[in-house]
């Protein structure tokens, strides 16, 4: 599904990612862990197509296509979803109309007919219930006045409606209390399927108690220094990133 080969990325001339290699297949959930400033969010933004990130070397293949050549909206239409670490508030743009426009843009890309308001509302109601998102929040302006937890639940609500093939979730656990974490994790788990790949980016292991990954990678200073199974995350939690750093003589 996703194949990242020797990816080097600079921001304002400063190298951030220094040769990432990563392969995520359909049906797999990978966790990408690392300390602050290691380049986790940079990787997420590069995959989604944000401006300001210069790829100096390497490539990213998504379903065999060159992902980096595609516009952000084309990536979304092809099934790539980024769950934002800091979902932006957009006063004046209704959450639900925006989501309907997004879903219909994606359907159009796939050559499907747009959903009418009634069919869309049916889907959206069901998914909002799954995320315990009150009706009132679905109708409000996008993320406007949402609490930290509501924003993150809203992200997974979007993901549930858009049903992407590849979901990149950037620090979806940050700022959540334990109850909200549980709701978000349940939402993500409900979307696990043999046709879907997920890349869960997190600083802490606690999210991975709820969303158990197939593979765990450790990103330090722009490079993946270790790859293992779910026990690697537990090990990191106990020992901290310093130990990995020291062992790697970084």
């Amino acid at each position: 599904m996703l194949k990242i080969e020797d990816l080097h990325v600079e921001v304002d001339g400063k190298p951030i990612l220094k040769g990432i290699n990563l392969e995520v297949n359909a049906g797999e959930v990978h966790a990408l862990m690392g300390p602050n400033g290691s380049g986790k969010s940079t990787l997420a933004y590069v995959l989604a197509g944000r401006d300001g990130y210069e790829v100096t070397k390497g490539r990213v293949l998504y379903k065999g296509q060159d992902l980096l050549e595609m516009l952000p909206e084309a990536r979304a239409a092809e099934g790539v979803f980024l769950g934002f670490q800091y979902p932006v508030a957009i006063p004046g743009v209704s959450n639900i109309y925006f989501l309907k426009a997004a879903l219909n843009a994606i359907r159009k890309h796939r050559g499907e007919d747009p959903l009418d308001a009634i069919d869309f509302m049916k889907i959206s109601k069901e998914k909002a219930a799954l995320m315990q998102l009150p009706d009132e929040l679905t109708k409000r302006s996008v993320n406007d006045g949402f609490s930290g937890g509501e924003k993150k639940r809203n992200e997974i609500f979007h993901m549930a409606v858009l049903e992407p093939a590849l979901a990149v979730l950037d620090e979806t656990d940050s700022g959540l209390d334990i109850d909200a974490l549980k709701v978000v994790a349940d939402g993500v788990n409900a979307l696990r399927s043999s046709e879907r790949a997920m890349l869960i980016i997190t600083h802490y292991q606690r999210l991975l108690d709820h969303i158990v990954p197939d593979v765990v990678h450790v990103l330090i200073d722009g490079q993946i220094v270790r790859t293992g199974d779910k026990d690697l995350a537990r090990h990191l939690e106990a020992e901290g990133y310093t130990e990995v750093r020291d062992a790697m003589q970084l």
Binding site: R75, Y97, A102
Partner: protein
């Protein structure tokens, strides 16, 4: 019949022979001020950005426009009379009300030359549910003409009403120099919606005087205009009066649209809020100039003023100048202005969810201005304005049915 064309100043008569004495003396004074100081030019501070020369130097015929009329018959408790008629029959009713206060420039020109107009009177305690709709349509002629609409609205103690004024017309050579005066008695409430749609050359002014605990709420929507200059002036002269002034303006092509506000806090415990938002594209120019004056006796004033602009092309221009003049201590005041382009992180968020860039831009542009349109309480007018805004914003068509 083709009338003689004259410049605006040349059209002032040498004497004023009709009407009540008090009006004649007001007209004489207005004409004297105009002859002495002239119409504004580039050096006149408050007109610095308004390319008014094209109007001042031009020759116009006196247009045979009909006097403004209400779109439907006046509801119970509201009396609508022709100013000309009242001035002929019962002029004392208007003394001290009409043309109250100093005027200069274009407002003085209107005072000197208006021939007809409306007096809308809302009786004490009357609550009018349906809005009073006033449509000022430009004559369909290519002949350069000038008209001087004049409206006085008197809202007596404890009354509530909504006035919706629409200025509309295609005629690029028509100058409309309008003055609307509003008097709000104690506890009176007025919602005033004013729409400028493609309205030729416009110089307009609204003068509001508020007594204690009255409430004035203005929403101005300006959809382009070759040259439009619009001033709202509010005098808060009774304790506890409130005003809220909101505005939305869009310029494109070679439009020039210029909004000025002046709010004077003269009495204690009054409140004023202003939010003007504009979108400038093409080679258009938009100006916002807002002044809040807090006089010495106006303790416990609360005054807020905000102007935000979206600049969508490199050839468009925005001038913004909100300012405060405060002459007392016990006040809460704020003001701010921004000129910027669309927020890149919002744009990326929408696109990353699959919204094509053009659509995302249109959604954000519309959202920026819609917030002002949403302030219009009368639903049919609000819906019509939303449609009108969609019709003029770049790629607005694309989001019809999405928002």
């Amino acid at each position: 019949m083709t009338q003689e064309r004259q410049t605006l100043l040349d059209s002032l008569p040498s004497s004023f022979d009709t009407g009540p004495r008090w009006l004649r003396s007001l007209r004489v004074r207005a004409a004297d001020v105009l002859r002495e100081r002239g119409l504004p030019n580039k050096k006149t501070e408050a007109w610095r950005f308004t390319p008014v020369r094209s109007v001042v130097d031009r020759e116009f015929a006196h247009a045979d426009t009909e006097a403004p009329r209400l779109a439907s018959s006046a509801p119970d408790g509201v009396t609508v009379r022709s100013l000309r008629q009242v001035l002929e029959q019962e002029p004392a009713l208007l003394e001290g009300r009409l043309a109250h206060g100093e005027s200069e420039h274009f407002a003085a020109l209107n005072t000197a030359l208006f021939a007809e107009g409306l007096w809308i009177h809302v009786a004490a305690g009357v609550v009018v549910e349906e809005p009073l709709q006033l449509i000022h349509a430009l004559p369909r002629t290519s002949e350069p003409g000038v008209s001087y609409p004049r409206v006085l609205l008197t809202a007596e103690t404890g009354s509530e009403a909504t006035l919706i004024e629409t200025y509309v017309g295609e005629a690029a050579e028509q100058l409309t120099n309008s003055v609307v005066e509003v008097e709000l008695g104690p506890n009176a409430k007025l919602d005033h919606v004013r729409v400028h749609e493609n309205a030729g050359l416009q110089v307009g002014r609204v003068d509001v005087r508020q007594e204690a605990d009255s409430s004035y709420r203005s929403v101005v929507v300006t959809l382009g205009g070759a040259l439009l200059r619009f001033d709202v002036r509010v005098l808060l002269q009774g304790q506890g009066a409130e005003c809220r002034l909101d505005g939305a303006y869009l310029v494109d092509g070679d439009d020039h649209v210029d909004h000025h506000t002046l709010v004077e806090h003269k009495a204690p415990r009054c409140r004023s809020d202003q939010t003007y938002r504009g979108i400038a594209s093409g080679r258009g120019t938009a100006v916002f100039d807002g002044i809040v004056v807090v006089h010495r006796d106006a303790q416990k004033t609360e005054a807020h003023q905000e102007n935000r602009n979206l600049l969508l092309s490199e050839t468009a221009t925005v001038h913004t100048k909100p300012h405060l003049e405060i002459d007392t201590d016990d006040v809460i005041c704020s003001h701010g202005a921004t000129v910027g382009s669309l927020d890149q992180s919002q744009l990326f968020y929408l696109r990353a969810r699959g919204i094509p860039e053009e659509l995302a831009r249109a959604m954000l542009t519309y959202a920026f201005i819609e917030r002002v349109v949403d302030e219009v309480a009368h639903e049919p007018t609000r819906d019509r304005l939303r449609e009108a805004v969609l019709a003029v914003i770049p790629q607005g068509e694309a989001i019809r049915g999405v928002t």
